[in-house]
């Protein structure tokens, strides 16, 4: 059994705004084993980025507030640490890959220095060794002519190449945990595939654990071991990739699976979307936050928040539909069909 590297317990993050207190993350629990890849999926605004930034304590305070919870990294709680103590963790133990490579590099600093800076910050090595290591990293992430590229500025790189640089920076100090917040969203499709390929390679060649944030379930099937589905600041379903793809239990997960774009759709089959919009996080609704958009909602959904029901050893879902007394709702046929098509395609992509 692999060692648990990260354990998040009842994490709550609020933001103070003029309109009121935004409950962006409302009690998130999950854990991550060494070498494991966890995907966090969910619609825009569901709190994926806030959760991942919170893990590195990158939430600006104010307006952010760590309202409750623990972030146990190798058993040590990060929440009470000072900024100074955190700076020894950031980049060193936990590293992050940001969404938009066009803006996440400093435009007026040479790429090489942006990499060596991390190495020199966290490792006791000479400048020359740091440079050697940086060039190794550039090679590793697939950048041709690394010696020449080392001395160039970000604007001399294409988007895909910049994201490779960002990945090299993230890997620079051999982090134990890598958080990738939608690392491919800002790139065009062919480049996305290349970056994913690179991520998979990293995953294979190192014992680094990865948290992979995305709203593209197609990517999930490809890279993740486990999946956490987020909705309105909470994890609503949690399980292995197989659990989520073959046996999804939460109606929101059904909605996400059903709304995956599928190129070989029948022409008469419309792209399904989840009706309605996410709830107001300043005044979260009573009961199940998803109730208003849930076609299978029951009376209790508007009254009481559902607990996490355990489906199997690895699989949990937060919906009253799993209560022993609830009516048994079969997986909607359209969703089942989508899943089939999707898994077939995923298998092809893996070959």
């Amino acid at each position: 059994m692999a060692k648990t590297i990260l354990e998040v317990k009842d994490l709550k993050i609020n933001f103070k705004t003029y309109a009121g207190l935004v409950h962006a993350v409302r009690g998130v629990n999950f854990d991550l084993k060494e070498g494991e890849t966890l995907a966090i999926v969910g619609e825009s605004g569901s709190g994926k980025s806030v959760t991942s930034n919170a893990l590195m304590k990158l939430i600006p305070q104010p307006p952010g507030i760590y309202a409750s919870g623990q972030i146990l990294f190798n058993g040590r709680d990060l929440v009470p640490l000072s900024d100074k103590e955190m700076s020894k963790v950031r980049g060193n133990d936990i590293a992050m890959i940001f969404q938009d490579p066009m803006t996440s590099l400093n435009p007026t600093m040479k790429v090489g220095r942006q990499i060596t800076e991390v190495i020199l910050q966290h490792k006791k090595v000479s400048k020359a060794d740091a440079k050697k290591r940086a060039i190794e990293l550039l090679t590793q992430v697939g950048i041709p002519f690394p010696e020449k590229r080392y001395n160039q500025y970000p604007h001399e790189f294409s988007g895909g190449m910049r994201q490779r640089v960002v990945i090299a920076i993230a890997l620079a100090a051999d982090p134990k945990l890598l958080i990738a917040d939608e690392p491919t969203t800002a790139l065009d499709v062919t480049i996305q595939a290349q970056i994913l390929e690179l991520m998979k390679e990293i995953q294979k060649n190192s014992k680094t654990s990865i948290i992979f944030i995305t709203h593209d379930l197609g990517v999930v099937a490809n890279v993740a071991d486990r999946v956490a589905v987020m909705y309105a600041g909470q994890i609503v379903e949690y399980g292995t990739v197989d659990d989520i793809f073959y046996n999804p239990k939460h109606p929101y997960t059904w909605g996400l699976l059903g709304s995956m774009p599928d190129l070989d759709n029948d022409a008469d089959e419309l792209l399904r979307t989840i009706p309605g919009s996410p709830p107001d996080l300043i005044h979260p609704p009573r009961g199940d936050a998803f109730a208003a958009r849930n076609e299978y909602a029951m009376a209790i959904d508007y009254e009481q928040e559902p607990p996490m029901f355990q489906v199997s050893d690895t699989h949990f879902a937060k919906t009253w539909l799993l209560h022993p007394d609830a009516p048994k709702i079969p997986l909607p046929a359209a969703v089942a069909k989508r899943i089939e098509g999707y898994l077939a395609k995923g298998a092809q992509a893996n070959d």
Partner: protein
């Protein structure tokens, strides 16, 4: 780079030509003559003077003479002060103005950047409010009012500085401050907003995610990017300091070029007007060129190409 600079030099020549021409015709249009203030001039003498200085020639001859004189930097003698050539006047008074101008620019940039950085680092806290208030005051109070107030309080009441004149470093502090204050305010606001903008950018977040300390991030990452707009302002700043000196040198009775320039206009001292105008134009045009070149050293994204205007 060389191509670019040659091209820019050509533009400067064209600009100078336009400036010389416009000044020439504006001088003709303005009523009065260099000798108008000498009341009891016998008409014969005035006639003689006009002839000596070529003022009786048709305008196109005068224009041609001016162009030739200007091109050879021979601006002739002052029409007002006997036996003083324009070039002498410039070379005597320019060092004074240059000292004052450089002092004012250093003050404006130094205080401006410092106040802006502090305001941004303590965003929405007391130091921010204090710096912003002073900056807004500086921008809105005209330099001549500030000059008068400072003369009254610091020189007359408290006796900390001399009221006017130019006999040493002590004499330069108040006028330099008067010129610099509003520019410092402007630069402070510019630096502050630019720093705040950079602080919200992804690369600063990334720098934090790398585990760099707060101050390392400011000095290594944010400041350089935040100062780019300030560099752009150096051109207008030079122009502002020059025009500011026209007023301030008069108020503080400083024997600088600005004072001569203003006086030459009141006196219709054509040769001096022409000389100082051309001189100022050259300085300003070159200041802008230097700023553009400086920019490329600080921002690697900007490459000077011959094609760029």
């Amino acid at each position: 780079m060389i191509n670019y600079i040659l091209k820019r030099l050509m533009y400067i020549l064209i600009a100078l030509f336009v400036i010389v021409t416009v000044t020439f015709f504006l001088m003709r249009l303005a009523p009065g003559s260099p000798f108008a203030s000498e009341r009891n001039f016998p008409p014969q003498i005035e006639e003689k003077l006009n002839e000596t200085y070529g003022l009786n020639n048709p305008w196109y001859i005068q224009y041609k003479d001016y162009l030739i004189d200007t091109a050879s930097f021979n601006f002739g003698e002052s029409m007002k002060y006997k036996a003083r050539s324009t070039n002498d006047m410039i070379s005597e008074s320019f060092p004074v103005s240059l000292t004052l101008g450089i002092e004012a620019m250093l003050l404006a940039i130094g205080f401006g950047v410092l106040a802006g950085v502090i305001a941004a680092l303590y965003h929405n806290k007391f130091p921010d409010y204090l710096a912003t208030t002073i900056a807004v005051l500086g921008i809105s109070v005209p330099s001549f009012i500030l000059a008068g107030l400072m003369q009254y309080f610091f020189a007359y009441k408290l006796g900390l500085f001399p009221v006017s004149g130019w006999k040493g470093f002590n004499y330069s502090i108040l006028p330099a401050l008067a010129i610099a204050f509003s520019h410092a305010g402007f630069i402070a606001k510019l630096t502050r907003s630019s720093m705040l903008e950079q602080n919200h950018s992804e690369y600063v977040k990334m720098a934090r995610a790398k585990g760099l300390g707060k101050w390392t991030i400011v000095f290594r990452h944010t400041l350089r990017n935040a100062l780019l707009p300030v560099i752009t302002y150096l051109g207008p700043l030079t122009a502002g300091v020059v025009t500011g000196s026209f007023i301030i040198e008069n108020i503080f009775a400083i024997p600088g070029l600005g004072k001569h320039f203003v006086q030459s206009i009141t006196n219709r001292d054509y040769t001096v007007i022409m000389g100082t105008t051309v001189f100022y134009s050259i300085i300003l045009l070159f200041a802008i060129l230097i700023v553009d070149i400086l920019y490329t050293f600080i921002d690697p994204r900007i490459k000077l190409k011959g094609a760029k205007k």
